[in-house]
Symmetry: C2
Subunit: 264 residues, 2 copies
């Protein structure tokens, strides 16, 4: 079974439509490619109650990982780690490793620590600080029963940098037993509703492969993307299943008078 | 008080990172501009349990509106309305208005109704069908206690078309008493952590205005976007509050030796 992830994206900017949630997309793509399974994304405001209750709710669903993004910075509305602490009923305290990382960053540019800078080192008790190579605020990792909570900054470059380090140090080896493969078939000249029974048929023959149709062209000639995905332990076996399903779909497209293009 | 919205985005493609959730951003932007408040976005897979439990959880938080996107089409994994019905413990049945809309669409292109096409008319008992001018699947509206649940297709053009109609017919009049204003100041040459105490100060003087700083330039000269937002009943009052906060911030930027650009 693949490891289960939940993502909690924190920030008003996401809920007023100012910023598209590309951080969640990035994480979903990376996690899926590594063989993990993202079950849910929750987007909440910079609000302590919302942050802590969304984390508590996610923990209750017992995923292997919860990844939060946003709210690690120096301003009043950066309150993610306070939310994590509250959800876990832990004290918030200055994490010495985090403080050292922040101190070194500001020393390197001849700046002093201020109250707002020290704030970025306030972690739930027992958490581990993760180096931020790009920006100032360290990431934070803490475990609760069988769930690991990884808190990353909201600035995409910083989020990606800490996540990449975490993939190399931890995630790749934990997820390595599950593989994920995908393939897309582009179908022209057949409507989604016409093709729906074909998908049902192919799914019955190759139930391991998930087949999702995405209608594309709105006007004129109908066009569909068939997106095939599969998870499994043995890459050769799932590769064979994928091409089996793909071939069955291709035959049907031709039979129904459609045209095909392929991208894998 | 502004009306509270929750968005539930449904689709595996969002959780494998294949598609960025631009539908949610579109809705957040529109709702905010109309004076509504989006409290939460939940993204779930094409999974009946996940869909129905996320809807049930949202209902328990008692928003004025829940808007779902995706999962209204003809394929096996389009199961949003089944999820809504299950969450509300209602029967799923063919909605005669929805069926008529679908029938007319297919008649116009000389196609028959099939089981998969009729599926798009299966609504929770008591729901209202909403015309889809762009695609085939009608939207669905149903109320439960004080919450209205609006289900829209996942194809952006179709989702936008039904939402726009709904804005004109219902939402604009319901939300009209609350106004939303925003303004951005771009600050160059001051770090976010340096500016954080200034935001605290201005917030104390003009607490109605929410001030969020977004760090921009990673390398070289630091750069910040200060995004100011305010909700209120009287447009003149909130406009004055916004410019009061904006002026205070501008003075501080100059005082700290930074440079300014403005966009409203």
């Amino acid at each position: 079974m693949p490891k289960v992830f939940e993502i909690i994206s924190i920030g008003n900017e996401l809920l007023i439509g100012k910023v598209v949630n590309s951080n969640a997309s990035y994480l979903c793509k990376k996690i899926t490619e590594l063989g993990g399974f993202v079950r849910r994304i929750t987007v909440v405001r910079d609000d302590l109650d919302e942050i802590s209750s969304s984390i508590r709710e996610a923990i209750a669903r017992n995923p292997d990982y919860i990844i939060t993004t946003g709210g690690l910075g120096p301003t009043f509305d950066d309150m993610t780690l306070e939310g994590v602490a509250r959800a876990l009923r832990l004290e918030l305290e200055v994490n010495e490793d985090a403080l050292k990382m922040i101190k070194e960053k500001y020393q390197a540019i001849n700046e002093q620590l201020t109250q707002h800078r020290i704030k970025m080192a306030k972690f739930p008790r027992g958490a581990i600080a993760l180096k931020n190579k790009v920006g100032m605020a360290p990431g934070c990792l803490i475990s609760v029963s069988s769930t690991k909570i990884l808190s990353l900054p909201g600035v995409p470059k910083e989020m990606e940098a800490i996540f990449e380090d975490f993939v190399e140090s931890t995630l790749r080896s934990e997820l390595s037993s599950t593989k994920f493969l995908e393939e897309s078939l582009f179908v022209f000249g057949i409507k989604e509703s016409t093709f729906a029974p074909v998908i049902d048929e192919v799914r019955k023959k190759v139930p391991e492969v998930y087949i999702k149709s995405h209608p594309k062209g709105a006007e004129g000639e109908p066009s569909l993307e068939l997106h095939l995905t599969i998870y499994g332990e043995d890459e050769q076996i799932i590769r064979n299943k994928l091409s089996e399903a793909s071939k069955l779909l291709e035959e049907k497209v031709i039979f129904l008078g459609g045209k095909l293009a392929k991208k894998s």
